[in-house]
Structures are given as C-alpha cells and as structure tokens.
C-alpha cells in the first residue's frame, strides 16, 4: 500500500477496528479545526462513514494556552454505518497542557493520548492552571490509565522546517500538519487529499507557495516520524464502510441547507432572497449563499434580525422566495415580523440554527430549546409550520421541503436545526438532480375574480405580487376580512380568520409523510427524537436490539403539523422515551396533545447526547427502575432527577 508521494508504509502490525473516535485539541490558534476537517475529508474519501463534532471556544482568541481557549474537533470514522461522532475518545491529540486538561476526561481508559511535549513548559502548565510544580506527563495515574505518548511536536516540526527559510512564526504554524501526519500514519491514511488541499489553499488562494511547501513538508515529516520512531507499537486499520452505492461528498448541515435552498430556487423558478444578520452558528449559511450569486441568489446582510425577517417578507411579497436565517436570540427579534407573515399569509422560510441559551447563553454550543419559541413565540394564535432535519445531510431535503410548503401553502415555515447539525459533517449521498421534484406554485387565478383572501380547497390564498396588472390589493398586519382581505374589526370575523389560519396549517399534515418507526414492531419502548439527537437515538436503539431488547425508534421531522399517524404510533407502544437537548419541550407538546405518558431524557450541557446516555435510559425504562419521574438527566455518567443539583 502506498500513501502517495513515495511515502511507503512501514510493516508494523495493524490492528483492525470497525470504528475509531479521535479528537484533535489545541489552542484556538493551533489549527485544530483544519486538522480535524482534513482528517474527516480523507477518511470520507477513503470510504469510511464519518461523523464529526467540532467544538469552538466562544471567544475568537481567548488568551493562548488557557483552558478557555481550547478548540477541539472530534471525528468518528468507521467501516460500519454510524450516526454519531462517538461517545468515548479512543485517541486524543493534545497540542498543549490546556488541551490535555480540557479533554482527557472523554478519553476511554487505556486510550491513546498523544501530547505535544514541547509545549509542556512551566509557563504553559501555569496558564492551564495546573498546580505549581505538577506536570501531568509525570503523573503515574495518568500514565497507567492511558497510553500516554510524548512527542515533542513543536520542536520536531521546527527542525523539519529549518531549511525552508520560513520565519519561526510561520514554521510554527505548521505544527498542526505535523500532528496530522502522525495521525495519518497511525491510521494508515493517504496524504493526497490534504496535499491537494494545502496546494489549493495556500498556493492558489493565498498565493503563498512557500507556506504550502512548508505545510506539506510538516505533514510528511509527521508521517515519517510515525514510521521511524519506535514509540508506536500498533497501527490501526479501519476498512471502508459498506455504504449504499452512489456518489458521495462530505457536508455539514449548514452547507447542505444552503444547497437545499438553492435547489428550491431552481425547482420553483423563483429567486432566492436570503436576508440575515450575522450570528453563530447560522452565519456560515449567509457566507455559503453569498458565494453562489450565479444561481440568482440575492443575499442581504440586514442591520438586525427583525429587519432581515421584514426584508425576506418584502421579497416574498414581491414574488420571490424570502428566506431569513438566524439563531435563538435572533429568532426572538424576528418574532413580531413572523406574526406579520402569518396574518398576511405570505411564504417565508425562517432558519433557526439553535444554540445554547437563554439570551446569549452558550453561543458556540448546541441545544434544541427553541421548539416552543418556534411554535408559540409570537403574540396571539400564530401558527406556522415547523420542520427539523435529522442529520447534516437531511438539511438539504429540509431546505427544499420548507420552500415547497411555504409557497404551496402561503405560510411561514421555521426550520429548526442546531449547532450540532450545522457544524457536524457526514458523508452525503448526492441526490440525482433530475429526480428532484419541481415545486409547483399556486396560480393567482383570474384578475377579474381575484380576492386576496379567497381560499382554495387547502385553505390557501392566492399569491399575487406587485407588477401583476389587475391584482392590485392591500395587505397588512390588521385583521383581514374573510375573502376580501379588507381591514375588519368584526368579532365573528376574527374568530373565523383565527380558525382558518389554524386549519390551513393543519391541512399541511395531508402532505406530511406518516411517521415510520424502525426497530421492533412489537417493541416495549419507542424512543422518539427530533433534530440533532436522532443519530444518537438510532445508534442506541440498534444497540439495545443487538442486546436482545425490544425497542423501536423514530425521528419526527415535522413538528407542526405533526404526521397524522403520530397519535396512533405513540399509543402502539407501552412506553415512550423522548431524549431532547432541552428540558422537555417536545415531551410537553406530545403529553398535551396525545395525553401520552412520555418520559424525557434531558441533557442541557451544550453537547449532544452520548449513545450510552440514551442506552442507560432505555435500560432503565425497560427494567422498571425508572420509577415515576417524568424526566431524568445525564450527569457524570449517571441518570439523575432534574432537581436542584447539589455537589
């Protein structure tokens, strides 16, 4: 086997694994996201199934060397079908003491820990707030609990680049590639993908061929180090995954969503007008769409979130597809404008990439606690359609589906994705463009009989836009008279219009596919999820079944209106468990609507569920030890009641 560029692979024994979870961790300036992304791309191209979990600090440049400034990137890559970035880390690459401190807790006992020994200086140990005189590398417990490998990465990297003539600072920056080279060797990965990436990025884009050369040199030097140094006893091999045939690429949720929206524009023949105000973790949708103007995409960076929502409404009113994207606090600001879209019955897509809250909360961490805000966070009865993708790749389909519903039903549609789906990546089977269904648009009818609030059999009003002669009409936020759309304060009319607006949303359910549980049809327990946790739930359900338990699982992609068979499905299973990254918002909705005794597993830590957390909940639901608590929370590997935590 050759890893390219003449690097031959040493004949060390390779241990076959079905999957491995590795995590790169270092200072925010260490290039860990780039190293992680490269490893992911290489593994995806190699043919593994992959799932990633990037973890950024909230500060752009927290003081170097501190725990607050640690940036991590976790990758699960496998020869089998996987749905999560993995629970326990098998191999940690810690570029400094702070990274070791922040991430060692997640490494499995006996796991591999590669530390950049050069950085374990007195100063850095102090910055990481280790006790005076203590160096974790000398800690016996640590050494006996993990396979701790000290590699002076910074020093070796500088030595390798000594001849390049690059300044110390630029050379130092290549240490992430040196580390990546070591890991590539360890897992028998080819270097080509990263070499090509470096050339494209540094030579073509940044016009710095000397930097490209140094990075490639560092990468190879790391690789050779793995081969020649006698410190690694084993290498690991993870075969290609058996995935369905097709053409694949790696996508993050935000990439996929941006492509889905562009596809919707192509499928409907309407221009996409994306209006947004920057906010983490939604901004990359704005970036992605701003780079695709050749598709007729217009992007508008508004002065704030309500302006962005209003401009999107204006764009829809003018006959194109108005889309606005944000994250939690931004959705709060859009609320009033969304009410306007509800009463004017205009198409509108609102993307909410949920993050930790309330308020600014945990801006770079994931959460799914805006469900009730999306459902009810507006004044008065103000129903909208709410959708949630179940994986990064599913964001593509959700983008198209949202546009289809918004335009065919003349309604705002909220897409609830989350930080985990938005930044996480997975291999995505690229759909066949020819097979994407065109989005048929409702006709405005005949000018002579046009009434702005006449409804068709689906309860949908016609979409006539400025520029169309004979259809001139006035709309606005004041209550409309049924059919004519004139302003009306008539009490009976308000009740009727409130009902009609609700019925219009309810009618969307006729197009919603039935929810189809997977797993055991005669299961004792249904584990129901939405959004980010769907992958962990799937894995936990499958593992439970492998252990002989009778369990079923399901993803709810349509949160409003819900699939028409949902009530029947919930009643089919004696027990229902709903894991959510919130305090039980879907659970409350389902309890209220279907009077079902659904139980919750609620984790609000800015992190996705571990599979084992859901597995534990499944066990406790089935073995009767759960008791009568409505919800439990994972904490330090246990499930506890959500009451005030005491230490």
């Amino acid at each position: 086997m050759s890893s390219g560029d003449g690097v031959s692979v040493a004949q060390k024994p390779a241990k076959r694994l079905t999957s491995a979870v590795i995590r790169f961790a270092g200072d925010s300036g260490d290039g860990m996201q780039m190293a992680g992304t490269q490893f992911t791309d290489t593994s995806a191209l190699f043919g593994n199934d992959v799932a990633t979990l990037p973890d950024f600090p909230a500060e752009i440049r927290a003081p170097a060397g501190t725990v607050a400034g640690v940036s991590g990137f976790q990758i699960n890559f496998a020869s089998e079908d996987i749905h999560t970035p993995g629970d326990r880390v098998n191999a940690l690459i810690a570029m400094n003491p702070a990274a070791l401190k922040a991430h060692i807790v997640d490494v499995e006992p006996g796991g591999l820990v590669i530390v950049n020994e050069t950085e374990f200086t007195k100063v850095n140990l102090k910055k990481a707030k280790y006790a005076e005189g203590y160096n974790p590398l000398d800690d016996e417990v640590l050494n006996s609990s993990y396979q701790l490998l000290r590699v002076p990465i910074s020093r070796l990297n500088s030595e390798a680049l000594a001849e390049t003539g690059l300044g110390a600072k630029d050379a130092g920056r290549c240490r992430n590639m040196y580390a990546l080279g070591i890991v590539y060797w360890l897992y028998g990965r080819p270097l080509e993908t990263t070499v090509t990436f470096i050339e494209n990025y540094f030579t073509k884009k940044k016009k710095r061929p000397e930097v490209a050369e140094a990075n490639i040199k560092a990468l190879k030097a790391g690789y050779y180090f793995g081969e020649t140094a006698e410190i690694f006893s084993t290498r690991y091999a993870i075969d290609k995954a058996e995935i369905a045939p097709g053409v694949y690429r790696k996508v993050t949720g935000n990439d996929a969503l941006a492509m889905g929206l562009i596809a919707a524009s192509e499928l409907s023949g309407k221009d996409l007008v994306y209006c947004s105000y920057p906010i983490t973790p939604a901004s990359t949708i704005l970036h992605a769409l701003s780079a695709q103007k050749q598709f007729g995409v217009k992007t508008f960076q508004a002065e704030d979130e309500i302006a962005a929502c209003c401009a999107a409404i204006g764009a829809s009113y003018a006959g194109q597809i108005g889309v606005t994207g944000t994250s939690g606090p931004g959705l709060a600001l859009k609320g009033e404008a969304m009410g306007l879209a509800v009463i004017t019955e205009l198409p509108l897509i609102v993307v909410n990439v949920q993050r930790g809250g309330p308020s600014t909360g945990l801006p770079t961490k994931t959460e799914q606690a805006d469900l009730l805000q999306a459902m009810y966070g507006r004044n008065s009865d103000s129903p909208v359609v709410v959708l949630a993708p179940s994986s990064p790749g599913d964001c593509f389909e959700i983008g198209i589906e949202a546009a289809r519903i918004a335009m065919q039903h003349m309604t705002p549609v909220v897409i609830l994705t989350d930080g985990y789906l938005a930044n996480g990546a997975e291999p995505w089977a690229i759909p066949d463009v020819e097979k994407l269904e065109p989005i048929e648009l409702p006709e405005a009818g005949d000018a002579s009989s046009f009434e702005p609030y006449a409804r068709d059999e689906k309860g949908v009003r016609p979409w006539a836009s400025p520029g169309m002669a004979g259809f001139e009409h006035r709309i606005g936020g004041l209550e409309k008279e049924h059919v004519t759309g004139n302003v009306s304060y008539d009490p009976e009319n308000h009740q009727l219009m409130t009902l009609l607006r609700q019925q219009k949303i309810d009618k969307v359910a006729e197009q919603v596919p039935a929810i189809e549980p997977y797993g055991d049809a005669d299961a004792e327990l249904l584990v129901l999820g939405w959004g980010g946790p769907c992958g962990s739930i799937y894995t936990a359900v499958e593992r439970a079944r492998e252990r002989g338990l009778k369990v079923a699982g399901a993803h709810l992609r349509y949160l409003n209106p819900m699939p028409m068979n949902l009530g029947e499905v919930l009643k089919r299973f004696p027990r229902v468990l709903i894991p959510e990254i919130n305090m039980g918002q879907l659970r409350s909705m389902l309890r209220a609507k279907f009077l079902v005794d659904a139980r919750g597993l609620n984790k609000v830590q800015g992190r996705p569920f571990l599979v084992e957390e859901i597995s534990m909940a499944i066990d406790r639901m089935l073995d009767g030890t759960w008791g009568d608590a409505e919800a439990l929370m994972p904490r330090n590997g246990e499930l506890v009641l959500p009451r005030p935590w005491t230490n």
Binding site: Q294, E336, E472
Partner: protein, 341 residues
C-alpha cells in the same frame, strides 16, 4: 389581464384611490397629503400595478389602504426593511414608504438610517406631526422639549431630533421638506419620485386632535404670516424669504444669520442654494423656527448607485463569470467519492 396591444389608459388622480373609506379624523393633515400624492402619481404617468405603498404603523401608516395601488401595511417602524426587501426582489417596482415621526425615527430609526445610507430606490414620505397620533397623543422624537402630553405631564425632557439632519448625516441622496397644506408639496413629491435613489421628504403634518397647529407658523394659522417663517429653496437662487421678499440668509463666520435686505445688504451677500452641497444641506437642516425660517423644497440631491441595482449587478456579474453554473455541479463541488454497487 391587459393585453400588450391595448394602449395604456392615462390614469387620473382618482384612479389611484382605493375603494376603502378613509378613516383619519376630520381635519387631519393626512388627507391633503393623500390627495396630492394621488395627483403626483397621475402626473408621473405611474401604473397602478407597478406602484407599491409600504408603511409601518401609525395614523399616517394607514396610507396604503387608501391607495388603489399595491399596498403593504407592515409593523411598527419596520416599513423601511420590508420595502428594502421588495426592491431587492423586484427593482422595477416604484416603491413608496410612508412613515411617521414615531414610526420612522423612534422604533424604526435604525431601519430608516440604513435604507438611506444604502440608497435603496424608495420614495420615503415622513409625516411629521411631532406627536404619536394613533396611540393618543404621547410626545414623539420630534416633540419640543417641555411638551406636555399624557406620558409627560410635567413636560417632556427628551431633546427633539431633526429628521433632516439625520437624513443628511445618514448619507441620504435626496432630502426635502414640505408642508401638508402647501401647494409646493406636489412639486417636491414629484421631484422626489423622479430621483433615482432613496428620497426622503419630511412633510409637516397637522394632527388636529393631539397637536393641532404645531406648525401654525409654517401654515399661516394663528395669525402667523407663513412666508416670514418658511424659506422656499430654489437651486441657484439666493435664499430670500418673507412676505415682501425682503429678508435673506447670510453666512458669517460659517454661521447662518437672518438679514434684512437693503441698508447695505444686497442679494449678492446672501447664501445661494446648491442642492449638491452636502455641507450646505446639513446647515439648512439646522435652521429652526423661531430663530430662522424653516427651509422647504429640495435641500439636497445627489446621484449615487442604487442598492438594488448593485445587488442585481453582482448577480449578473457572477452569472457572467460562471455562465454554465448548474445545480448538479454545485452539489458535486469539492471532493466526491463513488461507492460502487
């Protein structure tokens, strides 16, 4: 639908009225503005189907309901943002924004400022009645300090702001002022409508219920001689005013002053109006009653690229650069790999 061959009928002012009953208080200044706007559209040869009136919330913001064009009565303060979206989506439309001093300068100050600096092709009519009409008479951002209202029984302590100074400072490309009952309003609106970018026209409007005759000095009520209190601006002309056209504005040490013509002061000493002079525009926006006559007419006009055209221009440029962009290639961009059956 109108066929391509039918000659377009010439529309009259009444063709721009909707079938809705106008519900402002009798005597409200809004009526006069509505009438003149309908006349302006007829004069301009506007088409109903291509004309859109967008408004925020307030008495004045009910305006779109009374126009026989397309209309969108939005939410408080956000009309500018909605109108911006309309223009971005369809630059061909003739979009008017109606807003009040509360709507446009208080809750919507942010959006107004940004529409102006972007130079979105909107005709903005800012109805200034120096009060909140719809919510029954609280003071507004343009109310004078000391104004007694239900929310300021001891007099308001907020200093008022000048809409025109804000517009000039926000890089507006067209700034003008007129008065609801003044015949010049038609001209000013027509000139504003012809201006290619954002135009902002401040219109002094009488709220005869909550702030009656706040602009008596400019409308000639309560015994005022209005020509003594307004300065009618004309490009290239010296700034003369007064019933007998015997007073003028002179600049001394960069400060404007009111001078009496004669007695050694001649027209040649007076400031001459130049609507392309940004500094002068700001100076004019600072002239306030009672120390000065207040300018009416076009204060500032300059050509600047229009926002929606820049947006469309980038789309066109991107299309030119990548003429064969297609969805398939977009989805397949970057590194792909094939899993064989």
């Amino acid at each position: 639908m109108i066929s391509q061959n039918t000659p377009l009928a010439v529309l009259k002012p009444k063709d721009f009225a909707s079938d809705q009953d106008v519900r402002w208080c009798p005597g409200c200044g809004d009526y006069a503005i509505l009438k003149q706007t309908q006349k302006v559209l007829a004069n301009l040869g506007s088409r109903r189907e291509n004309t859109v009136f967008v408004a925020g919330i307030g008495c004045s913001s009910r305006f779109p309901y009374y126009m026989g064009t397309y209309g969108f009565h939005t939410i408080h303060g956000r009309g500018a943002a909605v109108a911006t979206g309309v223009k971005i989506a369809n630059p061909e439309l003739d979009v008017w924004l109606v807003t009040g001093d509360g709507d446009g300068l208080s809750i919507g100050g942010n959006h107004l400022m940004h529409a102006l600096r972007r130079n979105v092709g909107l005709n903005i009519m800012l109805f200034n009645n120096r009060i909140y009409g719809l919510t029954k008479g609280q003071y507004s951002p343009t109310s004078e300090q000391g104004k007694k209202t239900p929310s300021t029984p001891m007099g308001s302590i907020d200093p008022p702001l000048s809409p025109l100074s804000i517009a000039v400072a926000a890089e507006a490309s067209f700034v003008a002022r007129s008065v609801d009952v003044d015949k010049s309003l038609t001209d000013v609106l027509e000139t504003a409508a012809k201006h290619p970018g954002t135009s902002l026209v401040e219109i002094y409007q009488d709220c005869n219920v909550f702030n009656h005759e706040a602009f008596a000095y400019a409308t000639g009520r309560r015994g005022f001689e209005k020509e003594d209190h307004v300065l009618r601006l004309e490009a290239g002309q010296p700034m003369i005013f007064g019933k007998d056209r015997d007073k003028g504005i002179r600049l001394t040490d960069l400060k404007p002053e009111v001078v009496q013509l004669g007695d050694g002061v001649s027209e040649a000493d007076l400031l001459v109006h130049d609507p392309s002079d940004h500094c002068l525009a700001f100076l004019l926006s600072r002239l306030r009653h009672p120390e000065f006559p207040e300018p009416v007419g076009v204060i500032y006009a300059a050509e600047k690229p229009r926002y929606e055209e820049l947006v469309a221009g980038q789309v066109a440029e991107a299309r030119e650069r990548r003429p064969d962009a297609n969805l398939r290639d977009l989805l397949h961009a970057g590194e792909t790999f094939t899993v064989e059956a």
